[in-house]
């Protein structure tokens, strides 16, 4: 009877470790691709909702109040900006990371802090049941407190953005604004997820190339 020694590492077990690592890379790639496709679907439905809410606002307030000619062409700072950084402290440090700085024209520190914390949480998607749109863990209670503190300035900034259509606007227009805001956040998540996916793909390719060289 042949006795298999599981404790002593052999060539066979080394390859198994390699295979485990390759499988992990492939799983990470597939997981990030699944998250990417789910985000694309989510973006599509959010935009559909936003456009219909905008049409509903136009129906409610009248065509003269919700019109492209009312868009502000004066010079003014952007309400929201995109920060592009390189991931630090990682082997694949060439990977870009995108952070949305919402309402950056005022209260910069609070909004940046809130966004950075939430974006760091979103760097590491976890395995989950396919078809679910819930990608990330819930915010901690400290983050919730921080988000409540920035709510009033955020509401003011939202009203300021909408003021080009008048200061007394229909709730439908405010709902449309929230939908497009959510779509913008989803777009940044898609960009980060795509970056993650391409990085995972590169790693899988590297492993495959390494295997071919060995043969």
């Amino acid at each position: 009877m042949e006795v298999v020694d599981h404790e002593t590492p052999s060539l066979e077990n080394g390859q198994t470790d390699k295979e485990v690592e390759e499988n992990a890379n492939v799983l990470q790639f597939m997981d990030s691709m699944d998250a990417y496709l789910t985000l694309i679907h989510s973006l599509s439905s959010t935009l559909r909702r936003g456009w219909l809410e905008l049409a509903s606002a136009r129906h409610s307030m009248g065509a003269s109040r919700v019109n492209t000619v009312l868009l502000d062409h004066t010079s003014h700072p952007a309400a929201t900006s995109l920060l592009v950084t390189q991931d630090e402290g990682k082997v694949d440090s060439g990977k870009p990371h995108f952070t949305l700085c919402k309402w950056a024209s005022s209260s910069n520190e609070n909004s940046l802090l809130g966004e950075k914390q939430s974006s760091q949480d979103k760097l590491h998607p976890q395995l989950r049941h396919r078809g679910s749109t819930e990608l990330y863990e819930e915010k901690t209670s400290s983050e919730n407190k921080a988000s409540r503190e920035v709510d009033d300035p955020v509401q003011k900034e939202r009203s300021k953005s909408l003021s080009m259509f008048g200061t007394l606007v229909s709730p439908k227009l405010r709902a449309a604004q929230l939908s497009f805001e959510a779509a913008l956040e989803t777009l940044v998540e898609i960009a980060n997820m795509r970056s993650e996916m391409l990085c995972a793909f590169d790693q899988v390719n590297m492993k495959l190339a390494g295997r071919k060289d060995e043969k």
């Binding site: 559909r48 509903s56 129906h59 009248g62 000619v69 008048g166 200061t167 007394l168 229909s170 709730p171």
Partner: protein
């Protein structure tokens, strides 16, 4: 009893009342709307409309169509009908017909002033103005820096001049001041129109009082809901409500202090005509409020045609046609966005 209008009305108003009743017969029915709701593309809608009175206005429009094009061309038909009636009308009907357009005039003034504040081209703004609200010196609005100049340079020679007395300041025009100006002008216009109709007396006064009171009450509710969560103070909000209507004055006192939609509901449900409107809504929800108000308005406007020998039929026809254009706009948007399941969210059937 009224003042023997049946004996004298037809001398000056008979022809135009017949014309407007003929136009009323051309309004879309539920069957027409059901056909339109089956359309898959805007070109299908154009094809259906080509068989209606809107046909000549849309036939030369090239594909691909846009929803704003459909609305603009349908509005041109209304403008043509209005101009025909206006040029045939004698006093006091001609003044009555002009009153109907002052609301559009106010919207156009605010559009030009707001667009100029945002450094938009004047020609671009003029193209987007409602044709019923145009006047000769409208383009000159772009040079005004504050309300005093607005009045002095342009509006002093327009029908809106009397409405400016309550909002003339030297403050520069900004978004909040413009909004207050818009609502103050509209309040003054509604009150003036109401007094004019009262002076006419008879069936016109009775029917128009009801319609204008409903308009004033609806404005009060919309101002309240739209100002929740904004910087508009309670006093400023109260000043924007009209000084007539079913809600005046006690309903206005309650609306002025409302902080959410449920408080608005609580204030409105004390009035039986509005209790039925709010009973269609669930608590905390305001999305369907517009449709509920439009349905009530359409019901009242259709009732105006049940009586003869009054000017209310002209006002009712214009408003019903505007509702029809709103319906067409909504159906077009739902078709263009491939959201036909949502068509019945905002379409209000007239017949």
């Amino acid at each position: 009893m009224y003042g023997f209008e049946a004996m004298t009305f037809n001398i000056h108003g008979g022809y135009l009342e017949a014309i407007v009743r003929g136009h009323r017969a051309g309004l879309f029915t539920a069957a027409d709307y059901n056909n339109l709701c089956q359309c898959e593309t805007l070109d299908d809608i154009k094809m259906h409309l080509s068989a209606t009175e809107y046909g000549p206005y849309l036939q030369n429009e090239p594909s691909p169509l846009h929803t704003t094009t459909i609305v603009e061309k349908c509005t041109l038909k209304l403008v043509d009908e209005y101009k025909h009636m206006l040029c045939q009308a004698t006093e006091p009907l001609s003044t009555f017909l002009e009153y109907i357009t002052y609301g559009h005039m106010i919207d156009n003034v605010v559009l030009i002033v707001t667009g100029t504040l945002h450094e938009r081209d004047v020609q671009e703004l003029l193209e987007k103005c409602h044709p019923l609200g145009m006047f000769d010196s409208i383009a000159t609005l772009a040079v005004a820096q504050n309300m005093r100049e607005l009045y002095r340079l342009v509006l002093v020679d327009t029908p809106l001049a009397p409405y400016f007395s309550e909002c003339i300041t030297s403050e520069d025009l900004d978004d909040m001041n413009i909004e207050i100006m818009r609502n103050t002008l509209y309040k003054a216009y509604l009150e003036d129109f109401y007094k004019f109709c009262q002076k006419l007396g008879g069936a016109t006064a009775e029917i128009m009082s009801d319609l204008l009171a409903f308009e004033a009450d609806r404005r009060a509710v919309n101002i309240t809901i739209n100002s929740i969560g904004t910087e508009l103070t309670r006093d400023d909000r109260r000043k924007l409500y009209s000084n007539f209507g079913l809600l005046y004055p006690y309903g206005h006192e309650e609306l002025a202090v409302c902080e959410d939609i449920d408080q608005v509901r609580g204030a409105m449900e004390k009035y039986p005509p509005y209790q039925s409107i709010f009973s269609k809504l669930s608590y905390g929800e305001s999305q369907m409020l517009d449709k509920a108000f439009y349905e009530e308005e359409v019901k009242r406007l259709c009732l105006a045609f049940e009586q003869q020998f009054h000017y209310g039929v002209f006002f009712a026809y214009m408003r019903l046609r505007e509702q029809e254009i709103r319906n067409l706009m909504w159906i077009s948007e739902c078709v263009a966005q491939n959201q036909k399941s949502r068509v019945h969210d905002s379409v209000v059937f007239i017949f």
